[in-house]
């Protein structure tokens, strides 16, 4: 978070047309996410998305994730596990340079994808997984109303409907013994990675040759 603020200031100075909007996927609302935004001194648009609406809308299954949207409202990159820097155990230094390239070169950046590539990169959900969204939303409603039994019931149901969503799993177990990065999360992650899957949607930072967009 603090790293994105530094990058935001750098890139805005270079190109005032560049903007960041940051959505905290936090059902605990301001209590959970607010202090982190505050500590980052975020001056970009900061939203606390208690219902995980943005992840539902853009088919994102984990955090952090990023989407590039151009001046016409077209998506030109999507669904990547993106960190602003390498934090040791996680993160990467490879992502920010391609953002910098995009801000400098716009549609001519070799990191801009065409419509077909974006369509292929959008995560595909099953119809059951689509039903997970209103189910999770219902759980969040009960969570906000203080009914933790019903919150748990619908959050669990959402995870059964959409086992691909790390967001639904980790939001839920954050409030359980072990927390969001405890044994339950570790076991799930190991199982997925052991089967050849990925926890973060992989970065694909190969430049597109002769990008003629």
């Amino acid at each position: 978070m603090p790293v994105w603020q530094v990058i935001y200031e750098e890139l805005q100075a270079e190109n005032p047309n560049f903007e960041i909007v940051s959505f905290a996927q936090d059902s605990g609302g301001e209590t959970d996410a607010g202090p982190i935004f505050d500590a980052a001194n975020a001056t970009y648009t900061s939203v606390i998305d208690a219902n995980h609406t943005i992840s539902a809308l853009y088919n994102l299954v984990n955090v952090p994730s990023a989407v590039w949207i151009d001046e016409e409202g077209k998506i030109v990159r999507i669904n990547e596990g993106t960190y602003a820097k390498n934090h040791g155990a996680f993160g990467t230094d490879e992502y920010v340079p391609i953002v910098r390239d995009w801000v400098a070169n716009g549609a001519d950046s070799p990191y801009v994808w065409d419509t077909e590539t974006v369509s292929e990169k959008i995560f595909q959900r099953t119809p059951e997984a689509e039903r997970a969204q209103p189910t999770f939303r219902l759980g969040t409603y009960f969570f906000a109303s203080g009914d933790e039994v019903k919150a748990e019931q619908y959050w669990d149901m959402a995870q059964e409907l959409d086992p691909t969503s790390w967001n639904y799993l980790r939001q839920d177990i954050m409030y359980e013994d072990g927390g969001s990065a405890g044994p339950e999360w570790r076991a799930r992650r190991d199982a997925v990675e052991g089967a050849g899957g990925t926890y973060y949607a992989p970065l694909d930072i190969e430049p597109v040759p002769n990008n003629d967009r």
Binding site: A24, V47, D70
Partner: protein, 164 residues
């Protein structure tokens, strides 16, 4: 009074109390939490007055049907159907039936009278087919509503993260 007559009377009183006692509902759609004062009692579906339909999902009941912008789903209003019924001169619209037609997923907690609707696939067609960024409307931390159109003409990096 005979026992059977008592039973009939008791059943009739339950029946009429259902008819006259207003049931309320809470409807979740996107960021909206819409409290509906009166719904038509039903074991599975959500029936609301036409004006409440608009409060839930912006659809308007017009003579040609239930309409949102250019999209109109035909609704017969001179007779009862799965989508629309008239009871004592009051029209009732079946929101869940509309959702089924739109392939919009929904889930209800009948005990609490809370209904939760997912996104409408029709609104995300351009996302899947032509990479158009889906619009959103959420309040920022200062309470100002933020939508995608606020960033028209900008290069926008949309980020998600979480405290957990």
């Amino acid at each position: 009074m005979k026992t059977s007559a008592r039973v009939v009377l008791a059943l009739a009183s339950i029946f009429f109390s259902c008819l006259t006692f207003a049931q309320s509902a809470t409807v979740l759609y996107n960021e909206r939490v819409v409290v509906i004062d009166e719904v038509l009692p039903d074991a599975s579906d959500l029936w609301v007055k036409p004006e409440d339909l608009t409060r839930i999902n912006d659809f308007e009941l017009k003579p040609q049907g239930a309409c949102l912008d250019e999209l109109c789903i035909p609704v017969l209003q001179d007779r009862d159907s799965d989508m629309f019924v008239t009871r004592q001169d009051q029209g009732w619209f079946n929101v869940t039936e509309l959702a089924n037609i739109l392939q919009q997923s929904w889930v209800a907690d009948y005990g609490a009278g809370v209904w939760s609707f997912g996104g409408m696939p029709v609104e995300r067609r351009a996302f899947f087919q032509s990479a158009e960024a889906p619009d959103f409307l959420l309040p920022d931390r200062d309470g100002n509503l933020v939508s995608l159109s606020d960033f028209a003409g900008k290069q926008l990096l949309l980020l998600t993260w979480a405290s957990w």
